[in-house]
Structures are given as C-alpha cells and as structure tokens.
C-alpha cells in the first residue's frame, strides 16, 4: 500500500530543481556538532531534553565527531587557548556546514572583554546565525535552528560558501 506522496502521484514523474530537493533534505536532517565549553552548553542540554525536544526540527542526532556533522553549535566562551581547536574542528567538518554562535560570549566575547577571550568566534570561523543572551533561553536555540533552515532554503549546490573567509588564524 502506498502511503503519502506516492499514493497521490502514482507512477507519474515529478520535476523539480536539484537545489530544492537537496536543500529540502539538508534542512530537516541537520546533524549538530556541539562545541560546548561553558555555561551555555548547560542550556543547550535543556534544548535537547524532553521538554523542548530539538528532534522536532530533525536535529536531534547530536554528533560529537565533527566528521559526521554539518551544523556546528558553539555554546560558550572561546578563549585564545581554545581558538586553534575550534578552528581545527570546524575544518574537520565536511562541506556544506553551518555555524551557530550561541550566547554573548561566542558572538562577541560577552562580559569577558579581556586579555584571554576571543571577542566573537567570527574572528576565527564564519558564523551564520548569532543567538543573543547570557545564556540564551533554550527556545532561542530552536529559533536559531529555524533561521538556519531558512538560510539553507536559499542556497545552491553550485556555490562554495565562505570561500573568501579569512580569520585571525588563517
């Protein structure tokens, strides 16, 4: 018995643009790599837990190996000591990949305007969505996820994203 879309279409042919199909697939199967360093990571735990349940957006397959992930969530303060590691892990993720900076620290250094804190991870790697707050509420993480999905919609498989990005470590 055919279910869903096959039932409607029978054996007719469907034409679409490659970009649309690919983007549609990518949008709903984001695999996050959580780069959690500090307090914000605790709030990410809440976003992933039962109450808010990140799997409603198809992003529950949290990978701790960057090679299997396509969405990097940077949750927490990045110090200069941590920066080379962040960059290395970002580079280990296969293209296409998206980056969310969660919280004031990852976005701009936050309350730590001092000698050891990187003033925003966009000094190191390209960022697609920033989440404000210290820490942001877990709902804001879900909001960021939807923003990433919107961005993915408009992308093309032919484009190389962030080809020209140059950070302080490049």
């Amino acid at each position: 018995m055919a279910l869903g879309i096959e039932a409607k279409l029978g054996d007719s042919v469907l034409t679409t643009k490659l970009d649309v199909v690919v983007n549609w697939g990518r949008q709903y199967s984001l695999w996050p790599m959580v780069f959690g360093t500090a307090c914000c990571a605790i709030e990410f735990m809440s976003a992933a837990a039962s109450q808010l349940d990140i799997s409603r957006w198809g992003a529950e397959v949290v990978r701790f190996s960057p090679r299997q992930a396509d969405l990097m969530l940077v949750c927490g303060t990045i110090s200069y000591k941590q920066a080379p590691i962040l960059k290395r892990i970002y580079e280990q993720m296969p293209e296409p990949k998206w980056v969310v900076a969660m919280g004031a620290c990852a976005s701009s250094g936050g309350v730590y305007d001092n000698y050891c804190t990187v003033q925003g991870i966009d000094n190191i790697i390209p960022v697609d969505v920033y989440i404000s707050g210290c820490p942001p509420r877990p709902e804001a993480v879900l909001d960021a996820l939807m923003k990433i999905q919107d961005q993915i919609k408009g992308e093309s498989v032919l484009n190389d994203r962030h080809k020209d990005f140059k950070g302080v470590l490049d």
Partner: protein, 570 residues
C-alpha cells in the same frame, strides 16, 4: 581566635602575626619561609595539612607603599583544629623567586604554577614550572598591574605536551630506551579538549599499555576567561554576575560565597531573614548541583535512564528559579548586605513540591543503582585516593569526604546558623568512585532536610540591611529626598567601599571550599580578587587517581569528581 594568634606567636617568634577575620596572617622574610611552612605542616600541635591556595599580590599601584612590589601568599588550613593562616612573604626579585612548597603539599604544584603564570614569580625547586591557565605562546603575566586588560594574545597552535608525558613516564621507570624496545607498546591517547567525556574543555593525555593508564598528564585553562582581572575593574556588586559563571551548575552558591566574603570584611551583619534565605537557597542548589553531577556520571557509565530521572528534576527546578530571580541558570540573586529581593508569595508550596520531586527522582535513580552489580563492579575499588593523599592535593568538599575526611565548613566553622540545623556529614571509607557517588546521593537528602528545617524557622522581616553605605536605599527615598538620591548614585557609581586591607573568607560550596581572597585599597572596587576554586585543586590530583586504572574508568572518574570548567579555569 586569640588562642590561634598566641599559638602562632609562640611558634614563630621571629614572624609578625596579625589576626584577620577568621585567620592569622604571618609575615615572614623569604629566608624563613621554608622553615615556617614546614613548621606549620609538620608540627603536630599545628597540623596544617591542607594547603588551600597560593597566590601573589602586585602592589605596583597600591596607595600605600610596600617593602617590595610582589608578595606571595599561602593560605593554609588545619582542618582538625579549625585554624586558618595566611603566610605572606615579600618577593624581592620575581626572576630569582622564592623557594617552592611543593615538597610539603602536592597542591602547591598547581598553585605555584598559576602564580608563575599570572604574576611571573619563580619558585625555586618547583618540578614543573610552566604556564597553566594561559596558553604557551602567551607573553607577559596578565595579573600584573602593568598588563593591559585588553591586550589579547593569539594562540596559533596547541602545546604538544610530549615532554610532560615523557617526564611522567620516566617517573614510572619507563624511559626512551624502554619505549624504543620492540616489546613495549605504549600508546598515547589524548582525550579532549573537545570531547564529550570531558564535560567541558580539559585535556587528558594518557600513555596506555593496552587499556591500562600508565601515565597521565592534564592540561587545563581552556576556559580561562580572566575572572580575576575583570573583577579588579568592577565594583563589588558588579562582580556578582561574574560569580554566576564560576560553577554554573550552582550559580547561587557562588553569589552567596562572594557576598559573604565581602560582608565579613565590612563587618556587616545581614538580617536574619537573609541568612535563612541564603541557607535555603544554597542547600537547594547543592542538591541541584549534585543532581547534574550524578546525571552526567551515569550517562558516562551507560545508564542513560538515570539521566532522565535526575536531570528532569533540575529542569523542573528552573520554573521556581526563574520565578524567583528572573533567570534560569545565572541567578545573580545576592547583593552585598542582603538579597536582590525577598521570596515571592507562595514560594513555600513551590519549593516543597520541588523537594518532593527531587526526592522521587533520586529514589528512582537509587533503585536502579544501589544494588546494581554493574555499577558496583565499575565503581568500587576503582580510582581510589586515600584521605591523606586527598588532603595533600588540596581536595575539599564531597571528594575529600568520600576519602574519609569528615571536614565540612558548615560543621567545622559554621556560618549563617548552620549549627542550629540537624544534619549529618556523610563520609566514605575508600575514596573510590563508589564513595564519591554515594556521598553525593546522601548529601542531597541532607540538604533537603536542611531546607525543610530552615523553611520552618525562617523569620519575617527585611532582607537587606538598612545601611545606605552598603545597600541601595528604598525607592521612595530615592525619588523623594536628596539624601536617598545621592546615596543611590554613590553606591551605583562608586560601589560599596571597603576598608583597606586583605582577607580571605570561605564557604562550603557544592564542590568544596570556595574561598575569596581580597585585597582592598579602600575604594569600591577590589584591588585584587582571587578565587580559591575547589575544582582546580581536585583536578591537580587527577593523575594519581587514574594511573594504574583502565582508560574507561578515567572517564567516569572525571565525572565523579565533578569538574566544572568555569570554576576550574575562571
């Protein structure tokens, strides 16, 4: 207190002893430092077995001139006799330095490394003097007063740490020659700094023989965010939000510890209601902190169900917490001289509900764990640390008590009416992972009992002291008379002024003794504010716990000592 002072004077006639709040400060010249410290440690009448902290002070910009620019301070406790001393010594030349104390206390190793890193003071005879919080490519010493707070330095590459692990292997009798031998197969395995098992950012480098850890060295500092330097540029009340981010699993306890330290020097006696509020909330947060620690530990052990039983209660507690202080994680709920505000109406019922929830969650989890053969096999007799070694490494809190040392500041040096509550201090016997788990489980029940007792005893009344030099005046005064307005402005802009001087005050936080060491120049901002973090010294003893154990046990051992990055690296 006087007896401690007299005792010190009798023991060290050449040194100057002065009493401060809870402790005695002993001023010695560098030549006598060694003798003084070993006297404190080895004299059975003194028995100062717990070196809490090592730090330095840079007097470059201090209004009163001092004998030398740098001083080094050792904070040492004799837990059995409930005495606390701070030994201060001038450092005539930081380059040539002063003698080390690493042969007396193991905790001096990391403490002195931090002092070297932050202030550039050498310790003669230190076995491994290198940076600890800042990265290896860093130049200069950030806590020196002439180091610009905004001067960041980029780190291009991580430290390979090859030298360190080889040195550690050499102490185990494995040198280059043995490693080249075709029959030895030593594998180096690096866990972290970005690894799910490290719960944050710590680097654990191990040398393995099969699955057994032969040698281990650890690197911390990945979350060093300059708390201490930033605090020197903030008023006391502005620092409270920063303290949230030390141990972010129990932020409110840090808030309490911080303001308690400031108030103790100001001589402010907070209102009874505020004291009870602080007790209730601290104990509530202690239970929450242990919940998160245990939840994560059982995930690492493979018991994910426990995670839901325990973490869901923490999540549920956020409702109460956000109703109380407006935030979920970062409470910032205390102020110097009292609290941000009183409890909301109907808090008792909410809190009682929450306590029942925690009890249920913990009991459900215990039902899975207490008689579980797998948990027993994996945790009993694994990663043991006997009491004397734990003390030598500067362990405090549940980790120390699991090793059989019944030291708890709430009992031994009670504050906020803790002596009026009926509670017991659970202690372990072997100092293995099992003991650390069970001590935490039991402490949750004890904390719940304290909260219930305090809820019955809490009096009505104001939560802030009525002193316009310490607490903001009520709004109707600010809006209606000039005195109130001026008081408000002065407090907000200049901060609470503290009398010049130096002091240390401590608090039993969820992870152990959380201390603050201040130097004040009389203004509304601390001249220096050093945190004595319980985690930092616990991590300093990690290698001794895991060497000789299996690599898989290293992972659960790390969760059993509850390392929180924010507090570890500050």
């Amino acid at each position: 207190m006087n007896t401690a002072l007299e005792l010190m004077q009798a023991k060290f006639p050449k040194a100057t002893c002065t009493p401060t709040i809870d402790s005695v400060t002993i001023d010695v010249q560098p030549e006598q430092l060694e003798k003084t410290l070993s006297g404190l440690k080895n004299d059975p009448e003194l028995d100062f077995g717990l070196l809490l902290d090592v730090t330095a002070i840079d007097y470059l910009k201090y209004p009163q001139s001092k004998e030398t620019r740098f001083y080094v301070v050792y904070t040492i406790r004799s837990w059995k006799k409930n005495m606390l001393v701070q030994v201060r010594t001038p450092v005539p030349d930081p380059e040539s330095g002063i003698p080390t104390a690493t042969h007396l206390w193991e905790s001096a190793n990391w403490g002195e490394r931090e002092t070297y890193d932050q202030y550039g003071i050498h310790f003669i005879g230190h076995p491994d003097l290198r940076r600890i919080l800042n990265h290896w490519q860093f130049e200069g010493h950030p806590l020196r007063k002439d180091y610009d707070i905004y001067k960041g330095q980029v780190c291009y590459d991580s430290d390979p740490m090859e030298k360190e692990i080889k040195a550690r292997l050499a102490t185990k009798g494995i040198d280059e020659l043995t490693m080249k031998d075709i029959n030895t197969e030593i594998m180096f395995l690096n866990i972290g700094p970005s690894h799910p098992a490290t719960h944050g950012a710590i680097r654990i480098l191990t040398a393995l023989d099969g699955e057994t850890v032969i040698a281990n060295v650890n690197e911390v500092g990945y979350l060093h965010r300059g708390f201490e330097k930033t605090a020197e540029n903030r008023t006391y009340n502005q620092i409270i939000p920063l303290t949230d981010r030390l141990n972010y699993c129990s932020s409110l306890m840090n808030n309490v510890a911080f303001v308690k330290a400031v108030e103790s020097w100001l001589g402010v006696e907070i209102t009874e209601r505020a004291k009870f509020m602080r007790v209730i909330l601290s104990e509530f947060y202690r239970a929450l902190d242990h919940l998160v620690c245990l939840a994560a530990l059982f995930v690492d052990m493979g018991g994910l169900t426990n995670y839901w039983y325990l973490y869901n209660e923490k999540e549920a507690a956020y409702d109460l917490i956000s109703r109380l202080c407006g935030a979920r994680l970062t409470s910032s709920f205390t102020r110097v001289g009292g609290m941000y505000r009183d409890f909301y109406e109907g808090w008792e019922a909410d809190l009682e509900n929450q306590l029942r929830g925690i009890e249920k969650g913990v009991n459900d989890s215990l039902a899975l764990v207490a008689k579980n053969r797998i948990v027993h096999d994996r945790s009993q007799g694994v990663c043991c640390l006997p009491g004397d070694r734990a003390l030598a490494y500067g362990f405090t809190g549940p980790n120390l008590r699991a090793s059989g040392v019944p030291f708890d500041l709430r009992k031994d040096n009670p504050y906020y009416n803790y002596d009026a509550f009926d509670f017991s201090v659970p202690v372990g016997t072997n100092g293995d992972i099992y003991d650390r788990i069970m001590v935490r489980f039991e402490e949750i029940f004890q904390s719940i009992s304290i909260v219930r007792q305090a809820m019955k005893m809490i009096p009505k009344g104001p939560v802030n002291v009525a002193d316009p030099h310490v607490c903001l005046p009520p709004k109707d005064q600010v809006y209606s008379n000039i005195e109130g307005l001026a008081g408000h402005f002065k407090l907000v802009f200049e901060g609470v002024r503290t009398p010049p001087g130096e002091w240390y005050d401590s608090f039993e936080a969820a992870n152990g003794e959380l201390g603050f060491h201040f130097v004040s120049d009389g203004s509304g901002q601390p001249y220096k504010c050093k945190v004595r973090p319980p985690c930092f010294y616990t991590m300093g003893g990690f290698h001794e716990m895991v060497e000789g154990e299996m690599i898989a046990d290293t992972v659960i051992n790390l969760s059993s000592i509850n390392i929180i990055g924010g507090e570890l690296d500050r």
